[in-house]
C-alpha cells in the first residue's frame, strides 16, 4: 500500500530544533536540520541515528531541505554533513545560502571558543557544508532526481524563508517552515499555490494566538523607546544580526524622520553593511513597497542609523543601540548592557535572565551587577497566528495537515479547529512518532491504439461517466506502463507463444456410460469451479530489454475451451501462459479500470 510517512526528530510537539523526516513514494527527504540552543551537549542536535538503522545516510536520504536561516532550522547542518557524514544534496533558497554561514559562524565562535566546547564543527566544515548546497529560486521546479521534485514558495518569515512542495509523481507534501501570513515593513506575506497536496506540514508556534494588531505592537515599542530617550536614557536593543532587526530599524528610522528626533541610533559596526549588502542583493525577496521605491531610495540605507563604535557607549546623553547578539550572552550587546544596566533611566530588551525578572546578576569574575534599567519584552517575531494558519490550510487545500513547531496543548486546540472547521484530518506527532498516511497514487498507463479499436469494434463507446474494464497485457518498461493486446505484446517482445497444459489423471468410478459421465463432470465443474480457476491471472514481467509478457486470453467467464478440457480430462486453467523464468518476473494483471 503506498503511503506517506512523517517522523519528526525535532519540532514534534516542541519549538526546539526542527528536523522532520518525510518518506514519500519511496523517496526520503529531511526537512530542516536545526539545533537546540538550550543545550551544550549532544542533545543540541537531533539524534540522526534514528534516520536509518543500517546503511549510510547518503544512501538513504534523497535530499535535505532547509526552510530558512534561523539556527533552530539549520544549526545542525554542518554537524550532519561534515561530522555525521551525509554527503548528498542540500536545498535552500539563495538568501538562505548566503546568510546561513554567517549565523553558523557566529554560533560556532560562541560555542567553541567562548564556552570551550569540544566536538563542534569548524569554520572549514561550515564552508564545506555550504558547498554542498544547491540554491533554488522561488517557484522554480527543481528535479532532485528523475522522480523527486521540489518547489519553493515565499514564506515571509525572514529574508529568504521558503515553504517547499515535495512531489513524487502524483503524491506531494508541502512543508511550510516558519511563515507569516501578514506583510510587514520589509517582507511580504507568505503565498503558495492551491496545490492540494496529500499532506501539509505546518508550523504552529502561535496555534492558539490571535495576535493583536501589528500597529499596536509597533506603537507600544516606539512609545517606550521615545519615552526613554526623552528622559535622557539610553536604549539597548539586543538583536540578531539579520532578520527582525531590519524590521525594527525601518520602524525607528521612519519614526525618527517623522518626529524629527535628534538622539543618535547606532547599529553594531559591520553588521549594518552586511545586512544592507544582503538586502540589496536579494531585493526581490522583500515586500512590494521596498522593491518599488528601491530605485529612488533604498530603505536599508538609513539616514538616522549609524555604525556603532565601542567608544560611543560612554557618550553622555540619550541614544539607541541595536547590538548583537540577541540573547545578551556575549559580545557587544553584553558589554553595553554591563555599562548601562545600573542606570534606571536606561532601557533594554534583553535575554533570558533579565527577562525572567532577575535584578541582580552574577557576572564573570564573581562581580554582581544590579539591574536598575527598565526592561521590556516585545515580540516582533513573524509567525502566522491561528487565523493565518487556518488561512493557509484553506489556501492550499491539503488532504491532511500535520502540525509541528509548537507546544502540544496549543496544537491540540488547533488540531480540533482544523478538523472541525475545515474537515481535514490533522496530526500532531511527538518527536520520534511516525504518522503514516495511505495514499492512492494514480498510475498512468498508455493504451495501444489497436486495443482501443478492438474494444470500440465491440460497440462499447467511451463514456466519461462510467469506468469500465479493458483487457490486455500490461507491459512495464523503464517505469512506464502500457496496455496492449496479447498478440501485440508477443510481437513487440519477439516472443513465441507457448501453451502449457496441466493434466492430471482422475479415476472415476461411475456405473453410467462414458459419455454421460463426462457430461456430468463437465456440468459439475462448470457450476462449482471458481471464476478465478478459469481466469487464472498470468505472471508476466519485463527484464532489461527482453520482455516477457503473459499470453492471456481475453476472458469472460468460461471462455476457455471446455471441449478440449473435457477431452483431455485435465485442468487447463490458463491457456497460453508463457513459461516463468524465475522469481524476478513480476506479476501484472491484465485487467484495469478504465474511465470511459
Amino acid at each position: 500500500m503506498p503511503e506517506i510517512r512523517v517522523t519528526p526528530l525535532g519540532a514534534g510537539q516542541d519549538v526546539g530544533r526542527s528536523c522532520i523526516l518525510v518518506s514519500i513514494a519511496g523517496k526520503n527527504v529531511m526537512l530542516d536540520c536545526g539545533m537546540h540552543m538550550g543545550f551544550n551537549d549532544d542533545r543540541r542536535f537531533p539524534d540522526f541515528s534514528y534516520i536509518t538503522r543500517s546503511g549510510r545516510l547518503t544512501d538513504f536520504l534523497d535530499c535535505v531541505i532547509i526552510s530558512h536561516f534561523h539556527l533552530d532550522h539549520c544549526g545542525a547542518l554542518p554537524y550532519f554533513s561534515e561530522m555525521v557524514g551525509y554527503d548528498g544534496p542540500i536545498y535552500m533558497t539563495h538568501p538562505t545560502q548566503a546568510i546561513c554561514p554567517i549565523l553558523l559562524e557566529d554560533y560556532r565562535k560562541i560555542a567553541v571558543d567562548k564556552k570551550g566546547e569540544a566536538n563542534f564543527f569548524t569554520s572549514q566544515m561550515i564552508k564545506d557544508c555550504m558547498k554542498k548546497v544547491v540554491a533554488v529560486h522561488l517557484h522554480q521546479t527543481v528535479q532532485v532526481d528523475d522522480e523527486l521534485e521540489i518547489k519553493a514558495y515565499y514564506a515571509g518569515h525572514v529574508l529568504g524563508a521558503a515553504m517547499f512542495q515535495i512531489k513524487v509523481g502524483s503524491e506531494s507534501v508541502v512543508y511550510t517552515g516558519d511563515y507569516n501570513m501578514t506583510p510587514d515593513r520589509h517582507l511580504g506575506a507568505a503565498w503558495i499555490d492551491r496545490c492540494r497536496p496529500n499532506l501539509l506540514i505546518t508550523e504552529s508556534t502561535y496555534a492558539t494566538t490571535i495576535r493583536d494588531s501589528k500597529r499596536c505592537r509597533e506603537r507600544d515599542f516606539l512609545k517606550k523607546v521615545h519615552e526613554a530617550v526623552e528622559r535622557g536614557g539610553k536604549v539597548l536593543i539586543p538583536v540578531f544580526a539579520l532578520g527582525r532587526a531590519q524590521e525594527l530599524c525601518i520602524l525607528l528610522e521612519t519614526f525618527w524622520e517623522r518626529m524629527n528626533l535628534k538622539a543618535p541610533i547606532y547599529f553594531s559596526t559591520g553588521l549594518t553593511e552586511k545586512a544592507n549588502h544582503y538586502y540589496k542583493l536579494f531585493i526581490t525577496w522583500t515586500n512590494q513597497k521596498i522593491r518599488k521605491t528601491f530605485v529612488q531610495r533604498n530603505m536599508f540605507e538609513f539616514k538616522h542609523i549609524k555604525a556603532f563604535d565601542r567608544a560611543f557607549a560612554d557618550n553622555p546623553g540619550p541614544m539607541v543601540v541595536f547590538a548583537t547578539p540577541g540573547m545578551l550572552h556575549a559580545g557587544q550587546s553584553l558589554q553595553i548592557f554591563r555599562k548601562w544596566a545600573g542606570n534606571e533611566k536606561n532601557m533594554g530588551t534583553v535575554g533570558h535572565k533579565i527577562l525572567s525578572g532577575q535584578r541582580k546578576l552574577e557576572m564573570e569574575g564573581r562581580q554582581v551587577l544590579e539591574v536598575k534599567m527598565q526592561v521590556e519584552y516585545m515580540s516582533f517575531s513573524a509567525h502566522a497566528d491561528a487565523k493565518g494558519i487556518m488561512q493557509l490550510v484553506g489556501q492550499v487545500e491539503p488532504e491532511g495537515v500535520l502540525l509541528v513547531h509548537g507546544e502540544a496543548k496549543k496544537m491540540e486546540f488547533l488540531k480540533q479547529k482544523i478538523e472541525q472547521e475545515l474537515r481535514v484530518s490533522c496530526y500532531m506527532p511527538a518527536n520520534g512518532e511516525t504518522v503514516t498516511l495511505p495514499t492512492s497514487p494514480s498510475i498512468p498507463v498508455g493504451i495501444s491504439l489497436g486495443l482501443l479499436k478492438r474494444e470500440m469494434a465491440q460497440g462499447l463507446l467511451p463514456d466519461a461517466k462510467k469506468p469500465r474494464l479493458l483487457h490486455g497485457t500490461l507491459i512495464m518498461k523503464d517505469s512506464n506502463f502500457r496496455l496492449v493486446s496479447s498478440e501485440q505484446a508477443l510481437k513487440e517482445l519477439g516472443l513465441a507463444e507457448h501453451q502449457l497444459r496441466f493434466t492430471c489423471r482422475v479415476h472415476l468410478h461411475d456405473p453410467r456410460k462414458e459419455q454421460e459421465t463426462a457430461l456430468r463432470v463437465y456440468s459439475h465443474l462448470k457450476r462449482w469451479a471458481p471464476r478465478s480457476f478459469w481466469l487464472g491471472l498470468g505472471r508476466s514481467g519485463a527484464r532489461g530489454g527482453s520482455h516477457c509478457a503473459s499470453r492471456q486470453r481475453p476472458q469472460g467467464p468460461l471462455r476457455a475451451a471446455p471441449s478440449r478440457w473435457v477431452r483431455d480430462c485435465g485442468v487447463h486453467p490458463h491457456p497460453g501462459c508463457c513459461p516463468l523464468r524465475g522469481p524476478r518476473h513480476q506479476g501484472a494483471a491484465g485487467v484495469l479500470d478504465l474511465p470511459g
Partner: protein, 822 residues
C-alpha cells in the same frame, strides 16, 4: 548540595507540582535532572531525600489525579529512577509504596497521561536508572513491568520503542549477573525467571510471522551480543541459533537489515566461539539468501572480521564485487574475463537489480563503492586486492556517468542510459577513485584515470560538488604518481598531465560559482604546498595564468573565495611563485602583495579573509619570508596595530600568535620538553633581558598583549595571558633578573591597566621601557587570571543555583512573553 540550592529547592518543587505553572522551556527540566544525577553519583541519594523532604513530596504529589504537565510527570519518573538506583534509597522509596505507585499499574501506566510519548519515555528511563541491583529485579517482576516493556517495543514512538529494547537487554544482563552468591548456571533452564521470561519472549517473536516482532527480537539480540560478553551469551546463541537460521528459509527473508546486524554482532562478540555455534555456516547461508542490496553490508562486516574462514571471506568479497563485475561485463569491448570476478560467478541476480530500475541501480552502485572505499585502507582487506579491475570499474562508471562511455552491448548501453549525468554515482565513484590512489595500477589504467579526471574537471556539466571531489581525487593521484621510492617530485607523466590541468584550473578559477572558484583555490594551495619547490611544477605554473587569476581573486565578491585566495597567494609567495610580469602597473610584485594583504586586513568587511591574512603573515614570519626579513619590526608593528583594532576576535587571537612567533624569534623558543627534539639554532640573547626586550617594546607588542589581556572575548585574553606567562618564565630564568622596583612610570602603567580592566581602553599606554614592562609583569597576578579565564564564559549561568533561580523566576510571567523564536 550547597545551602543556596537547598533553600531554593522547596519553592521549585512547589512550582513543579503546580499544574497551573508551565515550565519556561523543555531544557530546564533536562538540566535539573543532569544536576541530580551529578549529586547522586557523588553522594548518597537517601541522604539527599532525607535532607530535602520536598523531593519525596513532589514525587508523591505527581501521583494525585490532576492536570499535570506530561513533561513534569516524565521528569518525576526519571528522577525517581535516579534516586532508586542506590539500593538503600530504593528500599526507602519502596517503604512508602512510592515505586509501585509510580511504575505499577496504578501509576501513570493506567492513566490518560500514558498516551503522551514523553511519559512512556520517562517511565522507561526511570526503570533503566533504577534497575541496578537485585532488589530492582524483584520489583520489576512484582509490578509486571517486563510485560509492559515487551509491548513498548512496538511503540508508535521510535524513541520509546528503542529505549524499551535497550531496557530489556539491560534487565536480561542484570538478571544474569546474579545475586551476590554467584552468577546463575550456564544451563538455560537454571536461569533466573526474569531472564527466562525475556528469552521466551524473544523466541516467541522469532517464531512470529509478523516482521515488526521479528525485527524487535533481532534488535534486542544485537544489543545483547554487542554489550554482553559473558559466557551465558554463548548459551543464549546456541539456544536461539536454530530460530535465527530458520528465518533464512523464508522468502523473502524477514527483517533482513536487523538479521545482518545480529549476525555481525554475534561474529564480533569475543564471548562466542564462532566455529562451535555454526555461525560461519549461517553467515554463508545469509550471504547467498539475501539480495545484493541487502548483502553488501553483511559482506563488508564479514571482511572486517579479524578471524574468519577464508572461504567465507572469498564469498563475501565476491558479493561485494558483483555489481562492479556486472558493470565491467556489460561494458566490455570484447569477450573475455573482466578480471574482477570470473564471468561464471557474476551473478545474474545482480544484473537484474542493476538494469531495470535507475533508483535500484544507483543505490546498489553507490553502496558498493562506499563499502569498497571503507575496506581498502583496512589491514584485513582481501589479498590479493584486485586493484586494476577496480580502477577499471571506477573509470568505466565515471565514463558512463559523464557520457564518454561507449559500450557495445545492449546491457552496457542500457547502463549508460541509466547512469548518464547521475551525480550520486559520480560523487561515490570519485571518492572511491581517490581512495584507490593508495595503491598503484598499470600505467595504461593510470593514464585513463587522469584522462577521466581531466574530463570531469573540464566538463561544463560537472556540478560544484562533483568538481570538488574531482579536484580532491586528482590531488591524491598526483601524490601517488612518483615512481622513485622516497622521491616526492612529480614524474614526467604527471608533469605532462599538469600542463593540461592548469588551463582547466584557470577556467575553473573564473567560474561563476563561488564553490568552484574556492575548490580550485584550495586545490592550488595543496599543489603549491607540495610541489612548489619543484622546477617542473614551477615552470608549468608560472607559464600559466593561474597566479595572476589567483591574485585577482583577492578581490572576489565572495568572502570564502577571498580567504582561499589569500591563503593561496601566501603559499605562492612563500615559494616565490607569484612574481607578476614586470610591467609599469606592478612595480615590485612581492611588495605589492604585502601591501594588498595589509589592505585586506584593515578593510575587508568579512572575518574569513582577515583571518587568512593573519595566518599567512604568521607563517611568513615563521619562515622568514623575504618581505618580512627586510624590516621585521616594521612588519610586526604594522600588523599588530591593525589586528588590535579588529572586531573579529579570531583575528586578534591570531595577532597574539604572530606576537608569540616574534617573541620566540627575539628571545629564543621555550625550552623543549622532549630531550630528543631538534632545536633550530636561534640567536640566543647574549645581552641582558631588558636589551632583548627592546625590539618587543618598539613594535608595541606589550601594549597589544596587555590590551588583549582584558579583551572581552575570553580566548584572546587566555592567549595573551599564556604569552605573558611565557615571558615571565623567561624573566625568571634570565640571569639579568633584577629586583622589582617601583617607579612613577610603573604606577601610571598599572593605573592604566586597571582602567583597561574596567572596560575603558581609550587611553593608550604610550612608549614602554623594558624595565617598566618587567616590573608590571612581576606585579600582575597572571596565574590567578589564567585560572579565572579557564572557566567558560557561561559558567555562572550554568551553575545549578542559576538554573533554579531561572526556573523560579519564570513563574507567572510566561503568559506575558509568548514563545518567540526570534
Amino acid at each position: 548540595m550547597d545551602p543556596e540550592c537547598s533553600q531554593l529547592l522547596p519553592a521549585l518543587c512547589a512550582v513543579l507540582a503546580d499544574p497551573r505553572q508551565p515550565m519556561a522551556d523543555d531544557t530546564c527540566l533536562e538540566k535539573l535532572l543532569d544536576w541530580f544525577k551529578t549529586i547522586t553519583e557523588a553522594g548518597s541519594s537517601l541522604l539527599l531525600l532525607q535532607e530535602n523532604p520536598c523531593l519525596v513530596e513532589l514525587l508523591c504529589h505527581v501521583l494525585k489525579p490532576q492536570d499535570l504537565s506530561s513533561r513534569v510527570l516524565s521528569f518525576s519518573l526519571r528522577l525517581t529512577g535516579v534516586f532508586a538506583a542506590q539500593e538503600d534509597c530504593f528500599q526507602y522509596l519502596q517503604q512508602g509504596e512510592l515505586l509501585p505507585r509510580l511504575f505499577g499499574e496504578a501509576g501513570p501506566l493506567g492513566g490518560a497521561a500514558w498516551t503522551a510519548p514523553t511519559v512512556r519515555s520517562g517511565w522507561i528511563q526511570g526503570l533503566r536508572s533504577l534497575a541496578q541491583h537485585p532488589s530492582a529485579l524483584h520489583f520489576l517482576a512484582d509490578c509486571g513491568a517486563v510485560d509492559t516493556i515487551f509491548s513498548l517495543q512496538g511503540d508508535s514512538s521510535l524513541f520509546v520503542a528503542s529505549a524499551a529494547g535497550q531496557l530489556l537487554v539491560h534487565i536480561l544482563s542484570l538478571s544474569m549477573r546474579g545475586p551476590a552468591e554467584g552468577p546463575p548456571g550456564l544451563q538455560a533452564d537454571d536461569w533466573p525467571a526474569c531472564a527466562q521470561k525475556i528469552v521466551g519472549h524473544i523466541e516467541e517473536s522469532l517464531r512470529s510471522t509478523a516482521a515488526p516482532q521479528i525485527t524487535q527480537a533481532l534488535n534486542v539480540l544485537t544489543t545483547t551480543f554487542g554489550h554482553c560478553h559473558d559466557p551465558w551469551t554463548q548459551v543464549l546463541w546456541v539456544q536461539l541459533h536454530p530460530l535465527v537460521a530458520a528465518l533464512l528459509e523464508k522468502d523473502p527473508v524477514p527483517a533482513a537489515h536487523s538479521l545482518v546486524d545480529l549476525l555481525l554482532s554475534v561474529a564480533r562478540s569475543p564471548g562466542l566461539s564462532s566455529s562451535s555455534c555454526g555461525l560461519w555456516e549461517t553467515l554463508a547461508q545469509t550471504l547467498s539468501h539475501l539480495s545484493p542490496t541487502q548483502a553488501g553490508l553483511l559482506a563488508l562486516g564479514i571482511l572486517k572480521l579479524q578471524d574468519c574462514p577464508q572461504a567465507l571471506r572469498a564469498q563475501a568479497f565476491a558479493v561485494l564485487l558483483q555489481p562492479l563485475a556486472c558493470v565491467l561485463k556489460a561494458t566490455a569491448q570484447g569477450p573475455g574475463p573482466s578480471g574482477l570476478l570470473d564471468s561464471t560467478s557474476a551473478d545474474s541476480v545482480t544484473a537484474d537489480i542493476l538494469l531495470p530500475s535507475k533508483a535500484a541501480c544507483v543505490g546498489l552502485l553507490c553502496r558498493t563503492l562506499a563499502h569498497l572505499e571503507l575496506l581498502l585502507p583496512l589491514p584485513q582487506r582481501p589479498c590479493p586486492w584486485p586493484q586494476a579491475p577496480l580502477l577499471g570499474a571506477a573509470v568505466t562508471l565515471l565514463q558512463l556517468c559523464g557520457g564518454s562511455g561507449s559500450p557495445a552491448s545492449d546491457e552496457g548501453r542500457q547502463l549508460c542510459t541509466l547512469l548518464l549525468g547521475c551525480v550520486r554515482v559520480q560523487r561515490a565513484a570519485l571518492d572511491f577513485l581517490g581512495t584507490l590512489s593508495q595503491e598503484t595500477g598499470p600505467p595504461e589504467l593510470v593514464t585513463q584515470v587522469f584522462a577521466v579526471l581531466l574530463e570531469y574537471l573540464r566538463s561544463p556539466d560537472s556540478s560544484p560538488t562533483v568538481l570538488k571531489k574531482a579536484f580532491q581525487a586528482t590531488f591524491r593521484w598526483l601524490l601517488s604518481s612518483p615512481r622513485t621510492p622516497g622521491c616526492s617530485d612529480l614524474d614526467s607523466h604527471a608533469l605532462l598531465f599538469l600542463r593540461e590541468l592548469l588551463p582547466v584550473l584557470q577556467k575553473r578559477l573564473c567560474s561563476p560559482c563561488w564553490e568552484v572558484r574556492d575548490s580550485g583555490l584550495e586545490f592550488l594551495t595543496q599543489m603549491t604546498r607540495r610541489w612548489g619547490g619543484q622546477a617542473g611544477f614551477r615552470h608549468a605554473l608560472l607559464a600559466s595564468e593561474v597566479p595572476r587569476l589567483t591574485e585577482q581573486l583577492l578581490r572576489d565578491p565572495e568572502s570564502y573565495v577571498r580567504a582561499s585566495a589569500v591563503t593561496a597567494m601566501g603559499q605562492l609567495s612563500s615559494q616565490g611563485l607569484c612574481v607578476p610580469p614586470a610591467s609599469p602597473e606592478h612595480p615590485g610584485g612581492q611588495q605589492s602583495l604585502l601591501g594588498e594583504l595589509l589592505h585586506i586586513l584593515s578593510t575587508d568587511s568579512e572575518g574569513f579573509p582577515r583571518r587568512a591574512v593573519m595566518q599567512v603573515f604568521t607563517q611568513w614570519l615563521r619562515d622568514s619570508h623575504a618581505d618580512v626579513v627586510g624590516d621585521t619590526e616594521q612588519f610586526v608593528a604594522g600588523v599588530l596595530q591593525v589586528a588590535g583594532q579588529d572586531l573579529d576576535w579570531e583575528v586578534r587571537a591570531q595577532g597574539l600568535e604572530l606576537a608569540l612567533v616574534f617573541l620566540e624569534q627575539t628571545l629564543g623558543p621555550p625550552r623543549s620538553h622532549c630531550p630528543y627534539a631538534v632545536t633550530p639554532p636561534v640567536a640566543a640573547p647574549a645581552s641582558p633581558l631588558t636589551q632583548a626586550l627592546q625590539p618587543l617594546c618598539r613594535v608595541r607588542l606589550f601594549e597589544f598583549a596587555f590590551r588583549a589581556l582584558f579583551d572581552c572575548d575570553r580566548p584572546v585574553a587566555q592567549k595573551s595571558c599564556d604569552l605573558l606567562l611565557l615571558l615571565r618564565a623567561k624573566m625568571a630564568s634570565s640571569s639579568s633578573l633584577q629586583e622589582p622596583r617601583s617607579s612613577p612610570d610603573v604606577a601610571s602603567v598599572e593605573a592604566a591597566l586597571q582602567r583597561w580592566r574596567a572596560g575603558d581602553q581609550a587611553q593608550p599606554l604610550g612608549d614602554l621601557e623594558p624595565e617598566v614592562v618587567l616590573a608590571v609583569l612581576r606585579s600582575m597576578d597572571l596565574e590567578g587570571l589564567r585560572g579565572a579565564l579557564a572557566e567558560s564564559s557561561d559558567h555562572v549561568e550554568k551553575s545549578p543555583q542559576s538554573l533554579l533561580q531561572d526556573m523560579l523566576a519564570t513563574v507567572g510571567i510566561l503568559g506575558e512573553n509568548e514563545a518567540d523564536c526570534y
